[in-house]
């Protein structure tokens, strides 16, 4: 039995679509369901339903063998996970957001930068000619520049609609964000044949890159 951790957040639909396109049915799994743990004995899979930010911990600790998680979350945590493939669907971008392109300071300038991703933000700022005080928030990041808590925000942008509605602009795309298949190192050794089969089928279905 292999344990697959699926995220509750925006990546769940992309994950289910990719697995099903690859012929891994996950039958009986209902995206709207509330079950936290579901055994699929016919497929030899047990599904864990986890919050995005907890999922890498479960996989890293070997409680789940593998999972699907966004590269935004992965980049924020210092985990030692295998990342064999990235899903094509569900991609978005991580961008610097502000009220105008002029929100970015000139060389030597200092701003406040609101984000859910403080480690990623620190790495980004380290490469810039300006400095920033990182303001860690857990949601509604867009409000920070709107209300003046911070001049800039670093956050996920999918369609850009939230930004437009709040009179914000996407100043710079910092990274492409993709849902990733992550695998525990020891689990890869133990379930190598099955995982290679899954990855091969995902590749053949052209739902990953």
């Amino acid at each position: 039995m292999i344990r697959l951790a699926l995220p509750k957040g925006r990546n769940l639909d992309a994950a289910l679509a990719a697995f099903r396109a690859a012929g891994i049915a996950l039958s009986g799994l209902d995206a709207a369901g509330r079950s936290l743990r579901l055994a699929l004995p016919d497929e030899g899979i047990e599904i864990l339903s986890l919050k995005d930010w907890d999922l890498p911990t479960y996989v890293g600790h070997g409680v789940a063998d593998c999972g699907i998680i966004g590269s935004d979350v992965l980049g924020e945590l210092d985990g030692d996970l295998l990342v064999p493939v990235r899903l094509r669907e569900g991609r978005c971008r991580m961008s610097l957001i502000g009220r105008s392109p002029g929100s970015v300071p000139g060389p030597g300038g200092q701003v406040r930068l609101a984000t859910k991703y403080p480690n990623t933000a620190h790495r980004l700022v380290a490469e810039r000619p300006w400095g920033a005080e990182i303001v860690k928030l857990s949601g509604s990041i867009e409000l920070a520049p709107v209300l003046g808590l911070a001049e800039l925000a670093l956050d996920i942008v999918q369609t850009g609609r939230t930004l437009a509605e709040n009179h914000l602009v996407e100043i710079e795309t910092v990274a492409e964000v993709a849902p990733c298949l992550v695998v525990n190192r020891a689990s890869f050794q133990r379930h190598r044949a099955l995982l290679n089969d899954w990855i091969g089928r995902l590749e053949a279905a052209e739902v990953v890159s």
Binding site: V83, A186, F188, Q189
Partner: protein, 331 residues
């Protein structure tokens, strides 16, 4: 006054039964090590930082607890026994009778991000075999490692409940250097990191001949690695088969992708890893149903060379608490 029983992040107190369990396990290991004629070294928990400055990678430096002593010396808490033992022995090597078999036990303290299963203080038992070059040294150390782990994870020798309780992944430093340097990429270090993470897209774009290593841990043909590395791979596969015969309860695999960042070529040896001194056999072990990393080891002749001594060296360490935890089944 009511006092709090809280402890700092990453440390734990073992009381009563849990303390007894650990001491019992430690006693069994020590008696096995003494039986194999390994002699104990007791090392300090505080040491100067300066002798290690040249040996530390950024990752290893980031783990250290460093501070300034009252006399102004820069000190560090013990984060790794192996370099400490090496720097104490290197200047005395001519007066020592070789081969030398040494074991140690004690706490190491490393800064770790707060997350499940990562303690900042943990108890290690380890052994070093000095002065025995090549495969005989590696065979002895790997066998001793499996015997010690088997004291807490019964069934590794094939008696009793069968296998999967211990997984050991074997490789050797520099195995993929030839393929990594031959790849058409600007940054072979980045490619090595992608191989170690088994990122297929990046590896396929940069070096299709590494794809097979990423999938199966081995190249399509050993010769793909170059003559010297192919010879080493044959030797390692034979060692694996020998150990698999002796310990049928252990899942032993040779996987070169796992150790892609352990390189020998100077162009690649800006290693990101935490234990960058391995230059021959390298191995990691995972135990129990949750496959906790419980230890590992390898050959590290170049550590002595960096300290001015020519001495073949191979060793391992086991994380005792993780090993005991791993004996509990995954729910």
């Amino acid at each position: 006054m009511r006092v709090s029983a809280a402890l700092p992040t990453g440390v734990a107190a073992l009381l009563f039964e849990s303390a007894r369990r650990r001491r019992d396990a430690e006693d069994r290991m020590v008696s096995q090590l003494r039986g194999a004629r390994y002699a104990e070294a007791i090392l300090p928990i505080l040491d100067y930082l300066e002798p290690y400055e040249e040996l530390l990678t950024a990752a290893a430096r980031g783990e250290l607890y460093r501070f300034i002593d009252r006399d102004g010396e820069l000190l560090a808490l013990r984060a790794d026994f192996t370099p400490m033992l090496a720097r104490l022995l290197a200047p005395r090597i001519e007066s020592l009778e070789l081969p030398l078999r040494i074991f140690y036990r004690g706490d190491v303290i490393r800064y770790e991000e707060e997350r499940a299963g990562r303690q900042r203080e943990f108890y290690q038992v380890g052994a070093e075999l000095l002065g025995l070059p090549g495969e005989p040294g590696e065979r002895e150390v790997l066998r001793l490692f499996l015997e010690l782990a088997g004291l807490e994870l019964p069934g590794l020798d094939g008696t009793g409940k069968p296998g999967g309780a211990l997984q050991v992944v074997l490789g050797f430093a520099g195995a993929l250097d030839g393929l990594l340097l031959a790849a058409d990429v600007d940054d072979p270090l980045r490619l090595a990191a992608a191989v170690a993470r088994r990122e297929r897209g990046e590896v396929r774009r940069a070096c299709p001949s590494l794809l097979r290593v990423v999938e199966d841990g081995l190249p399509e043909r050993p010769e793909d690695l170059g003559e010297a590395a192919a010879g080493r791979l044959h030797g390692l596969l034979a060692l694996r088969d020998e150990m698999a015969g002796r310990f049928p309860g252990v899942l032993l695999s040779v996987d070169l992708a796992e150790f892609a960042r352990h390189s020998l070529d100077p162009r690649l040896s800006v290693a990101e890893g935490e234990r960058p001194y391995y230059d021959g056999l390298v191995f990691h072990a995972y135990a129990g149903a949750a496959a906790l990393p419980v230890g590992g080891g390898g050959r590290y002749d170049r550590l002595f060379r960096a300290l001015g001594a020519e001495l073949p060296a191979v060793g391992f360490s086991l994380n005792l608490e993780r090993l005991l935890q791993s004996a509990e089944a995954r729910p």
